[in-house]
Symmetry: C2
Subunit: 214 residues, 2 copies
């Protein structure tokens, strides 16, 4: 319904940083934040800030900038972080365990309800307070608990298999940390987190900077 | 010197996926890979594949596509993954420990030599074979070992402080996993990995898909 939903990917990726800054301002008791303050803090051009903010439906006031509380609500609402999505995580290795311990998700509308693994060594335990269940029970659990998000932190060779089970169970959003390119139906949303991509950007830019110095 | 170095960010981010696919083909004993096979596998348009590959200096042959071994070398060389960068990691919490256990980095030119923390509980131990040292000794270590990359996995409130120490020690590339926007001199390369950004994209797209179904 809202055409504003078609915000470009870089805008969406930046909004959590806006949100963090606004929450800091709010904690400090400040009611307004100027466009130039946001721009300086996040290393952006002021025009970009105004554009990004406009996608959330917020328009700044001349000389005052953005009203802090109103902007927080607008961004949270735009990101859908006011409603809670239930999630399960598959793969309780080092990365999976790290994600289970990350407290930020609850402020971001994501509630990891259960974790799944195939190893007898972890099944039945809890990690950071979240129960680890047998991966064979994933489908049953997802259906019974109306889970919408599946987090995939299994080794590469199991990524597709786990994604298939999740999709088959009715999960519509996959957050994929395994370095496999998942094949899923077109109605499924996949967000890939690939450490190699970040490392590639770092390597290339590091190389560029070194060349510039020569 | 090479103008091809100015590849767009999305191209750089995609190259590790090309590399993984090519390595698979190589393992399977295949000498050529067609543009359409890459495109289908990575969910890209063939023209995009040809463009991405051209930045690495590789041009496909009609009807045959890309020579697998040659393409692997070209991408690894473009990403600088053939030379080794020495890295240190600061912050041995859940995420830091997970990264220390990630074996992929060695194939990607990154060698994490040591980890640093301020907690007496972990200093002196090893995590996944990597020694954990006192963060007070970080500067000395970096200078003595000519470390170029610093990985930051400390809590948000310590992010800037750790970055300052790293930059002051001569590190020129920061891989920042803390959700703080680092302020660094312009000759320093920063690659931010922000889980919130990925989650934001997932949430918004999940919301869009659900709206489309209504």
């Amino acid at each position: 319904m809202e055409t504003s939903k078609t915000a470009p990917m870089p805008t969406i990726r930046r909004l959590p940083a806006y949100l963090r800054l606004l929450i800091e301002y709010n904690r400090a008791g400040l009611e307004w934040i100027s466009t130039t303050a946001i721009a300086a803090e996040l290393d952006l051009k002021p025009i970009q800030v105004r554009k990004d903010m406009s996608f959330t439906g917020i328009i700044g006031k001349p000389r005052k900038g953005f009203e802090v509380k109103e902007s927080i609500s607008a961004i949270e609402s735009f990101l859908g972080w006011q409603r809670e999505s239930k999630a399960v995580l598959a793969g309780c290795g080092a990365l999976g365990s790290a994600l289970l311990g990350y407290r930020g998700f609850t402020h971001q509308g994501l509630k990891i309800q259960a974790a799944f693994d195939q190893s007898r060594e972890v099944i039945g335990k809890t990690i950071h307070g979240i129960p680890v269940l047998d991966i064979a029970d994933l489908k049953k659990y997802v259906i019974e608990n109306i889970v919408t998000v599946g987090i995939i932190t299994v080794p590469e060779q199991f990524g597709q298999q786990v994604a298939d089970i999740m999709v088959d169970s009715g999960i519509t959003g996959l957050w994929n940390f395994s370095p496999v390119k998942l094949k899923v139906p077109s109605n499924i949303t996949v967000q890939n987190e690939d450490l190699s991509s970040g490392l590639a950007v770092l390597s290339v830019r590091l190389g560029e900077n070194q060349n510039n110095e020569l």
